[in-house]
Subunit: 430 residues, 2 copies
C-alpha cells in the first residue's frame, strides 16, 4: 500500500461488458497510482487502513467519454436545429469557425467550452478545433486546465467553398509546425490528433501528406465517415476506384494504421463495416446530431453484435447537448426509432448498452478507460442523485433516473487518473 | 382602464399562426380582466398610466399546454425506457396505477406531480388519473392549488388483465358519482373530462354509457387513438364493421360530439384523419413517448397542412420528461427522423411550428389560449434566460436557446388568466 492509494465509498456502478452492468451498493472503489485496483463490497485485507473518502449515498460512476465534439461550435449550440444540413452550415458553422482566426475571440469562446467540460460529466474527449493554429493551441491549454484528458485536432482542409476556411499549399507544413508548437507547450493531459475534416474537404495531396505524418509520428487520426447520403455519393464520385468511402481514408493510411476514430458511420455499406472492423477503427455514434441533421441512425445494434468498437459523440453543435447523459437517452431513443420506422426487426439498445457506449465503449480509445474493472484508469464521477431517486429504487433504477433527470448540479466531484480535478462548491465526503 | 388591468414589460414572443412567431423586444403586454389586451412596442394612449411590471431582459412567453399526461405515472418516469411497451406496462405502469386505491399514497404521489406542474412551464394540462375516485378527487384538489387550469379524467375501464385495474358493472355509476363529488368540491380551475382508457379496455356497454354521459353533460372526452400497430389491429378485430379505430369512438359519441382530445394518432389511415378533421378532434402529439414505446412518429406535417387541431402531450411516463421545452425539441427531432428514415419527402417541423404546438396548438383546446393575440387568456411565463443567451443573439435565437437549454430554474413568474400563480424565490420586477 502506497500513499498514492485511496478508496472511495459509495454506490458503485460500471459496465463489465456491452450488455452487463455491475451494481455494488455501499461498495469500496480502491484507487492505486491512478488506476482502479478493484471495486469491493468490503475493503479487502490488503487494503485495510487505507484512507477512505465516504461519499455516503452518492453514486460512483466511471467518467464519461465524448468521442466527437467540435469545440468552436459550442458557442452556437441549440441554434437552427430545425434547419437542413447545408443552410445550418452556411448560417452558423462556417461563419463561426472563421472567427477563430482571431485569437482573442478564440480564447473567450474556448474558455466557455473548457468550463463546461470541467464542471460536466466528461473525463475524456476527442475534439475538433479549426484550421487556426494559434487558436487551437489556446484550446489545448484551456483543456489541460479543465482536468480532462483530451485529444485535440487542428483541422486540415484545403478544399472549402468558404475561402476563410480553406488552407493553402502550406496546409501540411502548418500542421507539422502546429504539432511542434504543441509538443513544446509540454502539456500532460492533452495530445494531438491528425484531423482531416473529411474526404471532400481535402485534396489527395493533403491526404497523402497526413497519412505519411500519421505513419511517421504514430499520432491518432479522427475524421467523419458516411454521415449522410449526399456526402457518400460525392465521395464515390471523387474516388470512383475506391470500394467505399472508408477505403479512401484507408488508401491514404488514415483508417486504423494508427488509432482512429470516425464520426457518424450512419450509411456504411457492409464492406465498409468490414473494413472498420478489420482495421479496429473506433466509431463515434452521434445519435442526436444524426437526428438533428436528418442523417439517419447508425446501425449500432449490428456494430455491437459484430464486436466493433463504438462509443458516443455529442457532435456539438450538430448535437445541441454536450451532456453524455443526454447522449445515453438519445442512443436508446434513436435505436428505438430505427427499429420502429425501418422495421428492421433489430432489438433496440438496452440501457446497459447505451451506458457502455458512453463509458467503456468510448473509453477504450484511450486504453483501459471507462470502467471500474481492475487496471482501468481511475476516472470517477461522484453524483448526488437525491433530486432523482426515490427510497424504493434499486441501484439500477437510480442510475436510469440519474441519466434521465440529473444535470451538472448533481456532480459532486470528478477524478481523472485518480486525481481530483473538480469539486462542487460545498461538496464533501466524510 | 380598470384596476384589473396591468402590463408586463419584457421580450415578448408568441405564435400568431402555426408558422409565424411574433417577436417584440422590450415590449408591453397588456392584461385586462385576465385576458390579453395586446402586445405593444410602446404603451398605447389608452393604457397610459397603467401599472407596469418591468421584467427587464426576461422573456415573456405564452404559458405552455400539455394535452396528454398520466398523473399516476409521474412517479416512475425515466424507468424502463429501453423496454418494449408490454414489459414496461407490466413492470411499471399497472402495478403503480393499482397503488392509487390507497388514498394516502395517492396524496403523496400526486403532490409531487402537482408541485412539478406548479414550478414548471405548463399553465394548462389534460390529465389522466386512474379508476380510483377518491384518489382522483385528491388529484383535482392538488391541481387546483397548483394554479394550472386542468381537465382531470377519472379513468373508465372495465376490461383489463390486471384485476385490480378493471372496474366492475358499476363503472358507469361510479363515474357519475365521481362527477357529482367533483362538482360538489367547487373547484374553479379544474374540470372533469370523460376518460375511457382506450377502446380495448372498455366494454361496448361502458362506451355506450360514457357516450350518453358526454351528450347529456356536454363534458369533454379524452382517450388514446392508433398509438401502435398491434393496438390498431386489435381494435379492427374487435369491431370488424368499423371503418377505422376512430370510427369506433365516433359510433359511441366519443369523438368530437363534445370537445375531444385523442393522444398519439401515429398510425391513422386517411379515413381516420378525415374523421378527426371533420369532427374537430384535437390530437395530442406525443413525440417522446412515441419514440420510447417504439410506436413511430405521427404525421404531424400532414396534420398541420390539412389545418387539423394538434398540440403536444408529454405522455408521462411513456415520455420521461414533463417539460414542454423538451417536447418542442422532441417534436422537431421526431419529424426529422421521420423524414430521414421513411424518406417521405416531408419537410420536418420548423422551430416555430413546434413552439406553436406547445402553446397555441394545444391551448386552443381550452378556448382562446396559448398566444398573446388580443383576447387570449393571459397565461404568461416570465423566463430569465441569462444562462442560455449571448449578447449577439436576436430574440428568436434567444428563444431557441431557452428551449434547448433552460430548466425550471429559469422560471421567474407564471400567470394564469392574469393571476400570478407562481413566483420564484427572489424573482422581482421593477
Amino acid at each position: 500500500m502506497t500513499q498514492a492509494a485511496f478508496a472511495l465509498r459509495g454506490n458503485i456502478i460500471y459496465s463489465v461488458s456491452p450488455r452487463e452492468l455491475a451494481c455494488l451498493p455501499g461498495g469500496y472503489l480502491v484507487v492505486d497510482h491512478g488506476r482502479v485496483a478493484g471495486a469491493f463490497a468490503a475493503l479487502p485485507e490488503r487494503w485495510q487502513g487505507l484512507a477512505v473518502q465516504d461519499w455516503g449515498e452518492a453514486l460512483l460512476l466511471p467518467g464519461m467519454v465524448d468521442l466527437h465534439v467540435h469545440a468552436p461550435q459550442y458557442v452556437f449550440r441549440g441554434l437552427g436545429m430545425d434547419l437542413p444540413l447545408l443552410p445550418w452550415l452556411n448560417k452558423y458553422t462556417f461563419p463561426e469557425e472563421a472567427r477563430y482566426a482571431d485569437e482573442a475571440y478564440a480564447h473567450t469562446a474556448y474558455s466557455a467550452f473548457a468550463d463546461a467540460l470541467r464542471s460536466g460529466f466528461l473525463t475524456r474527449a476527442v475534439v475538433f478545433a479549426t484550421i487556426h493554429s494559434a487558436a487551437t493551441l489556446r484550446l489545448a491549454r484551456l483543456l489541460e486546465q479543465s482536468g480532462l484528458i483530451a485529444y485535440v485536432g487542428r483541422v486540415s482542409m484545403d478544399r472549402c467553398d468558404v475561402a476563410a476556411l480553406a488552407e493553402g499549399e502550406s496546409a501540411l507544413a502548418d500542421e507539422r509546425a502546429w504539432l511542434a508548437e504543441l509538443a513544446a507547450a509540454g502539456l500532460r493531459r492533452v495530445r494531438p490528433v491528425i484531423t482531416p475534416r473529411f474526404v471532400p474537404a481535402c485534396s489527395p495531396e493533403l491526404l497523402v501528406g497526413l497519412g505519411r505524418l500519421a505513419a511517421e509520428s504514430g499520432l491518432p487520426v479522427q475524421s467523419h465517415l458516411s454521415e449522410n447520403r449526399d456526402e457518400v455519393a460525392l465521395v464515390a464520385e471523387m474516388y470512383p476506384q475506391s470500394a467505399c468511402y472508408g477505403a479512401v481514408y484507408d488508401s491514404f493510411g488514415l483508417f486504423g494504421q494508427t488509432p482512429t476514430v470516425m464520426a457518424h458511420c450512419v450509411h456504411c455499406p457492409p464492406r465498409e463495416l468490414d473494413l472498420l472492423q478489420q482495421n479496429g477503427v473506433f466509431i463515434a455514434h452521434c445519435p442526436q446530431s444524426n437526428i438533428n441533421l436528418t442523417s439517419g441512425v447508425a446501425p449500432v445494434r449490428e456494430m455491437l453484435a459484430r464486436g466493433m468498437r463504438v462509443g458516443l459523440g455529442s457532435d456539438v453543435a450538430g448535437g445541441a447537448h454536450l451532456s453524455p447523459l443526454r447522449g445515453i437517452q438519445d442512443a436508446i431513443a434513436a435505436s428505438k426509432l430505427r427499429a420502429a420506422l425501418l422495421e428492421t426487426g433489430e432489438k433496440p439498445l438496452s440501457f446497459a448498452e447505451a451506458f457502455y457506449l458512453a463509458t467503456l465503449g468510448g473509453g477504450a480509445f484511450f486504453g483501459s478507460v471507462g470502467s471500474f474493472l481492475p487496471g482501468c484508469a481511475a476516472d470517477i464521477l461522484v453524483l448526488d442523485d437525491s433530486r432523482s431517486r426515490l427510497p424504493e429504487h434499486d441501484l439500477f433504477e437510480r442510475l436510469q433516473r440519474a441519466v434521465y433527470f440529473l444535470d451538472e448540479r448533481a456532480l459532486q466531484a470528478k477524478y481523472v487518473e485518480g486525481q481530483a480535478v473538480y469539486r462542487a462548491p460545498g461538496a464533501a465526503h466524510s
